[in-house]
């Protein structure tokens, strides 16, 4: 499961572009948002590449 801290997110789109399952989008406030949690494979690359420490991937 991916948790996004919208207070930290600056909307740089790195997670949006590099998510292998394309399940992250920017919302109307230009903050990252998960559109389908069930498709997440917990690869953790969004967390590793988030420059603003806004993403936490909880591996189940």
């Amino acid at each position: 499961m991916v948790i996004i801290n919208t207070k930290f997110c600056k909307g740089c789109q790195i997670c949006v572009d590099f998510c292998p399952k394309h399940i992250i989008k920017l919302d109307d406030m230009q903050k990252a948002q998960i559109i389908d949690q069930s498709k997440c494979i917990s690869c953790g690359f969004c967390e590793l590449r988030c420059p603003d420490y806004a993403i936490t991937v909880v591996k189940e």
């Binding site: 801290n5 207070k7 930290f8 600056k10 909307g11 740089c12 789109q13 790195i14 949006v16 572009d17 590099f18 690359f45 967390e47 590793l48 590449r49 988030c50 420059p51 603003d52 420490y53 806004a54 993403i55 936490t56 991937v57």
Partner: protein, 274 residues
Amino acid sequence: MNETLKKYFRMNRLPHIWCPGCGNGIVVGALVRAIDKLGLNPDKTSIISGIGCSSRSSGYLNFDTVHTAHGRALTFATGLKLARPDLNVIVLTGDGDATAIGGNHFIHAARRNIDLTTIVFNNNIYGMTGGQYSPLTPTHSKATTSPYGHIENPFDITELAKASGASYVARGTTYHTLELINLIADAISHKGFSVVEAITACPISFGRQNKLGNAPAMMKWQKENTISVKAASKLPAEQLAGKVVIGELYRRQAPEYTAEYQKVIDRVTGGNGQ
């Protein structure tokens, strides 16, 4: 951010001031993951930084940190390491900080092979002051101070470090984050002067002036224009033109400065020195 990493940050200082898409946050994230991987004692780890975007990172890290004068991070770190050789001293510096203002300190710290880990955040520009060119700005690139294209040649910081006497030299990028974590962990473990050049994107001050696109586009450039040391060793030189080689570039065992200094103290004081 993962709960286990929160203890390495001064959470009340976050979110940081870096621009949207700035790669510095990824490098600092890789650093704390490397520290976590090695299980370093935070009370025995010091972070020293100079001035610039990259050097703001010492303020966000929950260790004993020093934010020093421009270019002088390595001099403060050398003093600290000499006084307390038991500490893990990590220097965070930018391309301008390390090679322009602190260029002389950089080559001499490398020459002494003192046990410091230096991470050079290479974003090709002075971002904080508005995008002036640095000694690592590529030829023909545009900067505020080279609006018609830069005519100087950049340093290759890894070759500079190697030629000056550094005993561990590596290069990583923010795109290859897992590899960067491993390179930083190896650099910290290495006894001697170790340099990791971390190529990071500056989409605001460098990318915008050079029309390189947004942060993900600049990270894709890192993916497409780099080649691993292993792959590069099998290719002829002409096919490597324009490619940036990443990975562990150089490692040697050499006498370390604080250990040699202790030997002098022991010899002169007959073994009673501290």
